[in-house]
Symmetry: C2
Subunit: 501 residues, 2 copies
Amino acid sequence: MKSDELLALLRRRGVLWPTAEIYGGAQGLYDYGPLGAALKRNIEEAWGAWFVGLSHDYYRIDPAELLPEAVVRASGHLENFTDPEVTCDRCHAAFRAETVLEKLRPEGVDGLSAAQIAEIVHAHHARCPNCGSEALSVPPPFNLMFGVEFGVTGHERAYLRPETAQSSYLAFPRMWDVGRRALPLGVAVIGKAYRNEIAPRQALFRMRAFTQAELQVFFDPEHFAVPFDRVRDEKLPVLRVPRRESGEETPEWVSAGQLASTGDLPEFYVYHLAHTYQFFRDVLGYPSDRVRLFEKSDQERAFYNRIQFDVEVNLESLSGYKELGAVHYRGDYDLSRHSEGSGKELSVTLQDGRSVRPHVLELTFGVDRNLWALADVHLTHDGDRTLWRLPPYLAPVAVGVFPLIAKAHAPYALRLTDDLAAAGLAAQYDDASSIGRRYARMDEAGTPFCVTVDGETLTEGPTRDTVTLRERDSKSQLRLATTELARHISAALRLPRPPRS
Amino acid sequence: MKSDELLALLRRRGVLWPTAEIYGGAQGLYDYGPLGAALKRNIEEAWGAWFVGLSHDYYRIDPAELLPEAVVRASGHLENFTDPEVTCDRCHAAFRAETVLEKLRPEGVDGLSAAQIAEIVHAHHARCPNCGSEALSVPPPFNLMFGVEFGVTGHERAYLRPETAQSSYLAFPRMWDVGRRALPLGVAVIGKAYRNEIAPRQALFRMRAFTQAELQVFFDPEHFAVPFDRVRDEKLPVLRVPRRESGEETPEWVSAGQLASTGDLPEFYVYHLAHTYQFFRDVLGYPSDRVRLFEKSDQERAFYNRIQFDVEVNLESLSGYKELGAVHYRGDYDLSRHSEGSGKELSVTLQDGRSVRPHVLELTFGVDRNLWALADVHLTHDGDRTLWRLPPYLAPVAVGVFPLIAKAHAPYALRLTDDLAAAGLAAQYDDASSIGRRYARMDEAGTPFCVTVDGETLTEGPTRDTVTLRERDSKSQLRLATTELARHISAALRLPRPPRS
């Protein structure tokens, strides 16, 4: 499906809609409805189970989204978290410089000053994408953070965090103190980040408020042992810089073992990259031929990232590969900045007596983007069916419960719905319109199971207290005792976890 | 425990700490560590299971926290969401007017203008609580919302929502369209709200960023049928206005049926109030003699609230009853405001042909406040044990897994931890220090179960693959097969739900 068609479908089904829709919406903000909210929670739970589950030394925390100014000054965001902007003096529209120069300068504008950008704009006679005028100006770079007055005096400022990562860096010393006082130490945050994007677009891909799931692993740069054998033979679809420079767009399949033997990628990095790939393939269910691990070059990655592979998935709705996650080796940049900014020593003393400032490996994941991608990849037309083939543990509704005839079978079906809910299953009752229409609604919502209560359920005899269980993808139907139902469905909903011990 | 002692304990155990601690903290912001984050999630899940579980027509959504200015203008927050402030011209400290006048005017300052407050301050020779000076000024009232520039032009503003409720009101027309198009329709949000409090204090009770769980039920004012018999005989600890005015502080026990028969409280209101009380007592486990349902008088409640009972719990740490939730009958105020503000008709046509602007019943709940109260009420000293008697389904860690002797039993214990995690249990491995110390750590964290892997677990014979299961409150020990463990523990973790059908 194309982006517009997909967005319209998600909106119509109440998966998501623009914030403050009745006021005309707010650019770059979306609200999740019942299906979207449940899907988003399930994605977050799946991410947590997988990545926090990677080690007994990885923990999830929940820090505040507002940060005092001193924090974002130290992290560099106050000075550098900017997006070069171009404004039109005629129609007064504002654009990202990158958008205006998209064709004239495909390599982007990273690192250029406003003056340099202005020179390029005028030399190429760039035109306003809105009105076509050449009267373009390049104002000083625009900081993407949302700032607020904090407290009553007007002297203090705070910022909505531009990434969840900063919260984890701030938490490191406290986590060290309350934990085992050993490295590695992983700190995960699933939460909101905020960016005042100049031009929000592509639905959930460039939002002004979005949810990140990020794991920061603090480790001893001299020694970060991982059970590498678990991933050694895993084949990964990598697109490395030399191959990219030769013009290739498609990845090549390289085993984790081979990748780590090239010498420039440490085992701990490849280990986490392989698990990241497995998460996208095995947990989110993206077909392996649509995923690639895209290495960023020296010029492309942030200067503090020593190694960066983006996880990209080829999306029909957005006509190409899109970044849905990444693995960054950030060195000791972050703790050094905050040590300097706060005046606190953030090195730690290890058991062997060495004092070490930990390095950081960052696994980052865009929750909203992946929610969109799960629709792009799994929401399909199959004949006249519209079918969301979500992995069952991600489905917003695990089981739909229908009375065949509303009047006769409703009380039993309602009780059954409650029993299934009490067993921890997301069960939803539906008695509106024909059974076919109800199946169709559940198919579109990705519901893996539907059960129908009918006359036989209520009649004395061998079928007493049995229902028809219908499976979404195969459409197979099974007659099952209601006492078996919760166990049968729960078995299909178990979250995948990485093997650990 | 006193507030300071409790906060210190929670901080030391990594339940929570001030945001940006290494920068000296940020007033009114807290980060939740591993235990706090898990407890908070569990409270939210329990609230959702209970309140969204009240009806098949109640749904949970997840809307954005930023709202365009037009929304908060229509809701009245831009004009009226203020807190009268008093500043000291000598020491330049700022205070809530209510704090400065606490003793001089116990009835508070609601509804007074800045000029009227200034008159009272000067007539009473009020003094600065900080430096004692009488040189106090009363500036124009201070709006509690955090506002941001939204977009690049500088012409648009957005606000961090001051309450989650507004998001639900905005969602109503879309929820109507995607749903059954029938009333009642419940919309629940669990999420952040933000207030630039003049004087954040009392740890989690007056925060600048906090989590609310709120259910807005839109209903037909002429007909809101509830299965009242379910609560008719429930005795409720109410403190009504006349009793309060006679000087009483303690509630009296009145059945829901009696309460609804007084004539001024409709059955649907008492029904939801009774379920709210049950949640506090049965799900969160507050002792019934520490809970009261505190009716607000005409003068005390917001003008748009027709009926309001606060749920208050008597907290040792804060020396008295504190509001932890409330039930508001808000009439049609909210939809009327947004209908006017947006120019959209927010009335709906019911199946019987009537056009109705729904009324709103609001159930509100402070997640952070209740997290604090769960510590206040359940975290106790028992002889030399420090013990957090959390209801098992709320406990951050469901089961601690210990090898009796780290070297010998670690591999088995690690595998067992993974197996329990795979069964969906929050399992935590611990091999540091003596078994006694490990029990003590788990007791303090509220962990209901601990299992110990020992020599017998690994030795061929009848105890092969059995472990010792120790229960937190009774300290009873049980020898159990590891294959039985997940089922045994899961049974104790089932979330309470209201009976429904």
